[in-house]
């Protein structure tokens, strides 16, 4: 008998009805009552049905109308390439090379697009020690520059026309070269590539001229005169106890700043048990970034550099008769140098051979050669000799140059007498430019065969003897471009292309493909340096010193031309990230300007009042020298030599560089002059006149002093720090004591109702530490953050309105003498980013909980949820939250509303950044924010997530140092440390434990419990800092709360 299974009486007793009911439980159609086929009005309940219809159709119509599905241009692989997993990043070692700067990097490639450059750290390497520069970080954006030249071109009737193929191009150029009489000259910027040099050497009858926009030829010649050959030495800033710089911006722009900053920082790190650091003296005319980091700075006229060098040399001996007004300082420095023979070094930024000869003499006198300055490992950063260039122009003018091939040089813009070059260029029959953009020189050439971007090409670089860095392509060339080396090979009669040549060369050199591949993988190969050397010969000193002594004495204003860390010589001026990068010293973007002293401002009748500080309109002066006249806005900076006016190079570009660079600032190269042996980057006897006009200058920081707010910045002198090393811990303890006086429980736990993340020590707690002593203000982190987090570029118009979007900014504060603001004691750089407070004031004010705290200590931002009340930004004491004021990214809900012609009209650069090509640089792991939402530093949450996944895949615990933020890896001085602070093995834990005497939290008294420790800046001077501690003044009772101290009491 069959069993009957039933659940309810209904099922047993009335199975038919039950089945029907259970089927009808979920109606599949809209249950229109008695609707049948009778039509709506005749239905049993027409009103209800009508409403149902209405509701359904309205909803359907709304859905259909509003959900416009965007067209996605994503094409899957037909055949998946081996080793490529979509969505997973690959890293390829390559090398950033620009104007002689060589930085080994790892290119992060996502889905076949390089999107970010990371430091390349090879354990044990003396060159690949990590760290990058702002310009290296930004170079990935140059790859996607929409103003790059896209195909070979030939000028017809004065206009460029595309040449359809390289074969045709080769034929055209080949024929033309054959027809042209005269020599064939290759004009390049410094070539550091061994294979390229090899190719050049093999090219029949090719004369190679190297020319650097900002040249070091004086130094090369001086070294030659002193018996070292025409080379530059290796500098060892790490072992130098005393560093003296005569106007050399070695942390920012001089020779190899990343390498130098790395080494310099080693000597600047303080170990608390035995506080010691190198001593950095800077003699200079204007305030440079390197000068900002100096322990003691002395200013002099630009024309006095030689005298200062001479004085220093003579002060090293006995019987010192100073010829400059800073003789006392020079004597002090000389004594210090004498006391540290063999562990001191003097560098000089001058391009004057005579001065460099004296500097060599000084270095010889202090025993630097062979110790801190090593000629046995010569470096190749700069090789250009100015007189070669001058000779070339003369030859061109004389008509003896038949063919001029140009790569990487732009003399029509950078040569002091550019007009001479331009007219000489007309006399050259065949002119070919390999430059990547239609720059000032290329536009004058007849043929343009654009070179690859370095991320598309093979190549190599040998920055110094024994070191080989490889460049490998990370993407198929975007445009019809070709390595200029291939062109040279073809025209020299070889059928090889550069790639084959390059591989064969190195495989032959390393003895096999495996060895080659190994180097390719690592990016850098190190061998013991061979050759170099020579020994010091002081024969040239007498001549040089008498030449310097004979320099005319100057009165009146002097102009000095300098490079900014962002723009440099101007070769990357078309890069939006670099143009929007605030200068470390002036905090100005998108312009160059005249930096003047306070005394000069007074003399020119410029009032430094509220209007000057709070409005972007800055006074304009006219600088004139001979026929060169320019109008420039003024920025008054403390710590300038009174008579010095400083103007940055690299601005005032033509249209061919792209809309980002064109029309930004003015070109200051015409102020430079060629004196017969080298180019001088200073002008004596320049006239400055106040035009009583105003110009809007976009600065990202308005106020220059930290107003002695100790809770914001702690800095002191080494002498005070040694004397009272527990000032900060005691001060922090007072804060807690004051808290306990009024409440019980723990300072941390009582801050917030939420569970304290610090108590869950088995979990992850991310934290960061920033050492203000090693932060040089170089801004590499700022650009890295741009690249990693898709931070939008807003353009000058928006920066002027204080709408800049940098997630990470470097606050710069001047510390001046109380009575004389022009007497600059120090410059403090404080990288400021979201502090990820555990008791974050931004979190509790958001009405929709769009910003909240993660269990791992992140203050996280949910862009989708944000409605843009900006309350969080107002309530952030650090003011690090950034609001999308306009549609900077094209991610807005309103289409095409960037073409706003009203208020807040967007600059061309915003459109450039939103071009399909430029957008290829975007990091797909990070949301592009739409207009109307707040954004801010996320502690690179995408990286922590990726590291967690990696650990999971490998079935291991996540290490405390497994995650490195973008800013951290960019930093050449390791000032930024990030990690899991609960992990006792992590760097962040150790840094915090080992730096209790310097570690503090910014605005700790607000009880917001920030997660970033700052290590106080210590200047290596013997001066006592009377603000430090506060126990000096007889019996003065200290206030209980640090916040409590009123300015009057803390300043005296």
């Amino acid at each position: 008998m069959d069993n009957k299974y039933w659940q309810s009486f209904g099922e047993v007793n009335d199975p038919e009805n039950f089945r029907k009911q259970s089927q009808d439980e979920f109606h599949e159609e809209l249950p229109f009552e008695g609707f049948d086929d009778k039509g709506l009005i005749d239905a049993k309940a027409p009103r209800r049905d009508f409403l149902k219809y209405l509701g359904f159709s309205t909803a359907a119509a709304t859905l259909a109308a509003s959900c416009k599905v965007p067209v996605r241009k994503a094409i899957p692989y037909a055949n998946k390439p081996e080793n490529i997993i979509p969505g997973e990043a690959k890293y390829y070692a390559t090398t950033y090379v620009q104007d002689g700067d060589v930085v080994p990097v790892l290119a992060k490639v996502r889905d076949a697009r390089p999107i970010k450059l990371e430091e390349n750290v090879l354990p044990g390497s003396s060159y690949a020690m990590g760290g990058t520069s702002a310009r290296a970080q930004a170079s990935v954006l140059d790859l996607y520059d929409m103003y790059r030249l896209r195909h070979p071109q030939h000028k017809v009737n004065g206009k460029f026309e595309e040449v359809p193929s390289f074969e045709q191009m080769d034929k055209m150029v080949g024929d033309a070269m054959k027809a042209a009489s005269g020599s064939v000259v290759l004009l390049t910027s410094t070539v550091v590539s061994p294979t390229t040099k090899d190719i050049i050497a093999k090219f029949p009858n090719l004369k190679h001229v190297q020319y650097d926009a900002v040249s070091h030829s004086g130094m090369l010649l001086a070294n030659e005169a002193c018996g070292f050959g025409r080379t530059l030495p290796s500098y060892k800033f790490d072992i130098a106890k005393v560093i003296v710089s005569l106007g050399a911006d070695f942390l920012g722009t001089w020779l190899s700043p990343v390498e130098f900053a790395k080494a310099y920082a080693k000597g600047r790190k303080i170990e608390e048990k035995n506080p010691q650091m190198s001593k950095h003296y800077q003699f200079e005319s204007h305030l440079s970034m390197t000068g900002s980091n100096a322990d003691e700075r002395f200013t002099h006229r630009p024309s006095e550099t030689g005298l200062v060098a001479l004085d220093l040399l003579s002060a090293l001996g006995v019987g010192f008769f100073p010829t400059t007004s800073i003789g006392k300082a020079i004597k002090k420095v000389a004594d210090e140098l004498n006391a540290h023979k063999g562990e001191a070094l003097v560098v000089c930024g001058s391009n004057d051979k005579n001065i460099q000869v004296i500097v060599n003499a000084i270095n010889n006198a202090i025993g630097a050669f062979g110790k801190t300055i090593d000629f046995s490992v010569p470096v190749n950063y700069r090789q250009g000799i100015d007189s070669d260039m001058a000779q070339l122009i003369a030859d061109m003018e004389a008509g003896s140059v038949g063919t001029l091939l140009i790569y990487g040089a732009n003399p029509a813009y950078t040569w002091p007498e550019a007009d001479k070059f331009k007219s000489a260029l007309k006399k050259v029959k065949v002119t070919v430019s390999f430059n990547e953009k239609m720059d000032e020189t290329t536009s004058l050439c007849e043929y343009s065969i654009p070179n690859h971007h370095y991320l598309e090409s093979w190549g190599d670089a040998s920055p110094k003897a024994g070191i080989t860095c490889f460049i490998q392509p990370t993407i198929y060339p975007l445009f019809k471009t070709r390595s200029y080396q291939t062109s040279l090979l073809r025209w020299s009669g070889s059928n090889q292309d550069y790639e084959t040549y390059f591989k064969e060369y190195w495989i032959g050199k390393f003895g096999g493909t495996d060895a080659f591949n190994k180097v390719l993988e690592a990016g850098v190969k190190e061998e013991t340096a061979s050759g170099g050397g020579g020994s010091y010969n002081g024969a040239a000193v007498a001549e040089a010193s008498s030449a310097i002594a004979a320099y005319p004495k100057v009165t009146g204003s002097e102009l000095v031309l300098y490079q900014k860390v962002s723009i440099g010589t101007g070769s990357q001026a078309g890069n939006p990230w670099l143009q929007e990068l605030p200068d470390p010293v002036t905090k100005a973007t998108w312009d160059n300007y005249a930096m003047i002293s306070m005394a000069k401002a007074k003399e020119l009748g410029i009032k430094l009042d509220n209007d000057y500080e709070y409005y972007p309109e800055k006074p304009v002066i006219e600088l004139s020298f001979g026929k060169t006249k320019v109008e420039l806005p003024v920025l008054v900076i403390p710590g300038m030599n009174a008579e010095t006016i400083a103007v940055a190079l690299g601005y005032g570009r033509n249209e061919g560089m792209g809309k980002t660079a064109a029309g930004v600032g003015i070109n200051a190269y015409p102020f430079a002059s060629y004196n017969g042996s080298s180019v001088m980057y200073r002008v004596t006897g320049v006239t400055a006149t106040n035009l009583h006009k105003k110009y809007r200058l976009a600065q990202t920081q308005k106020h220059n002093s930290y107003e002695n707010r100790k809770e914001v910045v702690r800095e002191t002198t080494l002498a005070s720090f040694k004397k009272e090393s527990n000032v900060i811990p005691e001060w922090r303890k007072e804060l807690e004591d004051a808290f306990y006086k009024n409440s019980n429980g723990s300072f941390r736990a009582n801050a917030t109702l939420y569970p304290d993340a610090d108590t869950r020590s088995h979990e992850i707690k991310w934290g960061m530490s920033i050492d203000m002593n090693t932060c040089t203000g170089c801004n590499a982190c700022v650009v890295a953050c741009h690249a990693e987090n898709n931070v939008p570029v807003v353009g000058k118009r928006e920066v002027l309105r204080y709408h800049d979007m940098h997630w990470l900014r470097i606050d710069r504060y001047f510390v001046s003498d109380e009575h004389n603001p022009d007497d600059l004691k120090a410059v403090v750089f404080q990288p400021m980013l979201c502090q990820h407070c555990d008791n974050a004031p931004c979190e509790n004010v958001c009405p929709v909980a769009a910003t909240n705290h993660s269990a791992e200590g992140f203050n996280q931002m949910t862009y989708n949820r944000c409605i843009g009340t900006r309350y969080c930004a107002n309530n952030c004491p650090y003011k690090v939250r950034r609001f999308n004021w306009a549609d900077y990214t094209g991610a807005d809900s309103f289409p095409d509303n960037q073409d706003n012609q009203l208020i807040g009209k967007l600059d061309d650069v915003v459109f450039q950044m939103n071009d399909d090509l430029t957008r290829m640089v975007l990091n797909p792991d990070v949301t592009v924010r739409s207009r109307g939402v707040i954004e801010k530093c996320s502690f690179c949450v995408q990286r922590t997530q990726a590291a967690k996944l990696e650990a999971k895949k490998e079935n291991r615990m996540l290490g405390g140092n497994d995650v490195k933020t973008a800013c951290q890896t960019a930093c050449p001085t390791n000032a930024i440390v990030f990690g899991n602070s609960h992990d006792k093995e992590s760097d962040i834990y150790k840094v915090r434990e080992n730096n209790k005497q310097r570690g503090f939290y910014v605005l700790e008294q607000l009880h917001v419990l920030p997660n970033i420790t700052y290590l106080a800046k210590v200047r290596n001077t013997d001066e006592e800092d009377k603000h430090w501690g506060g126990h000096h003044e007889g019996g003065e009772v200290k206030e209980t709360m640090p916040a409590a101290t009123k300015p009057e009491e803390t300043t005296h």
Binding site: K702, C846, P847, G868, Y871, N874, F883, G904, T1045
Partner: protein, 484 residues
Amino acid sequence: MALLRYESQVRPALVEGDKDYHQVTEDICRPVEAKPTRAWWIGFIVSVLVLCFGILSVTIEVIYGTGQWNLNKTVGWGWDITNFVWWIGIGHAGTLISAILLLFRQGWRTGVNRAAEAMTIFAVMCAGQFPIWHMGRVWNAFFVLPYPNTRGPLWVNFNSPLLWDVFAISTYFTVSLLFWYAGLLPDLATLRDRAKKKWRKLFYGVAAFGWTGSTKHWQRHEALSLVLAGLSTPLVLSVHTIVSFDFATSVVPGWHTTIFPPYFVAGAIFSGFAMVQTLLVVTRKVLGLQEYITIEHIEVMNKIIVLTGSIVGIAYLTELFISWYGVNEYENFAFMQNRLNLFSPYGWSYWIMMGCNVLSPQIFWFRKMRRNLVLTFFMSILINIGMWFERFVIIVTSVYRDYLPSAWSTYYRPTIWEVGFYMGTFGLFFTCYFLFSKFFPVIALAEIKHILKKNGENYKEKMDEIEHETTEEFGQKHGHDHGA
């Protein structure tokens, strides 16, 4: 016959001109029933035009983003929230007059309460625009409402003062609207009964909710009024207290101040009364209601103005004192440098505020000044300028230079669209007010009849007559037959 009555002379009549009940009805209904005047049309059209400019300004801001305003990375709120707090403040007088004065049985309120309540409602409507449209993504504004949703466990943040604002303001608006409408019901019924045209009958008929004037209706009406008055009274205090929490609970020096709640409430009543003055001085003149809204009303309200103005003044000085006496360097800086220092970038705004709010109302200590209509009108404008600057000073001068000197702002000044938005709310306000004054009685018809002394006056007149009559005359005249 001995005079057996005693007449108190303390209070003059609240309604002048010896009106009887019918006359009152006629007077107050006249502007509603007559054709609109030329002045009304001009005023109305100008208001609508200004409103349209406001709509344009907001539309542009919504389409192109908050960047159409000059706010920046440091100054996140400027004119938008200043205007919000200003309008909310103005919206306080109405409820105070209708609720608190009702509970205190202040008879004079009936002359002004209807207009003041309407003003409250319109002001709150204007105020509400700012927190809505200042959002970067206003189309997601509904995120602030705690409703069950399909977005997973997403909920609003009950810690946020901005959310409290949402509740406070919506509650306040609802209660004020109900209170106002409940009071309107008998008057709407009157208009319905007097209506001659069909559409008027229909309109007022629907609006009157079937009011018949039965005793039961009146009883319920009185009870409802009392309940709503009881509900509104704490709201008068709570709404601006909560608005002040937007600032008081923050960490920004200059915002983080415990004095804010009472200070904001006093300021709100201060500015609200000033706005009532502005409107009534004009309304009574234009609509010819001088006998209902008398000079006594004006004077009483001026007294409230001098009182609340002085409270506000004391609050300012207390704040200043505490910032000097206290130990917080940052608060000290916010007050001494950002505000008190006339030569700081925004120093001027602090002194405008001080001048308008603290010094100028002191003139109302003089009776003659209190009864001067021109001066009252001028002062009411001045006070609202001052109160606008109070909010501007609090908001902008606090954030533009706070903790980190590196973040100190560039000079903030509004763009045309920021100003246009503010103007637009004036357009909204006056458009509503013109419509209100055209279609609704601006004086509470039913309520003002309560304070009419017509019966007493009649009695007095008659008694005079009677007193002079002999018994015979009386009996004859009044036809009383005392059993003769």
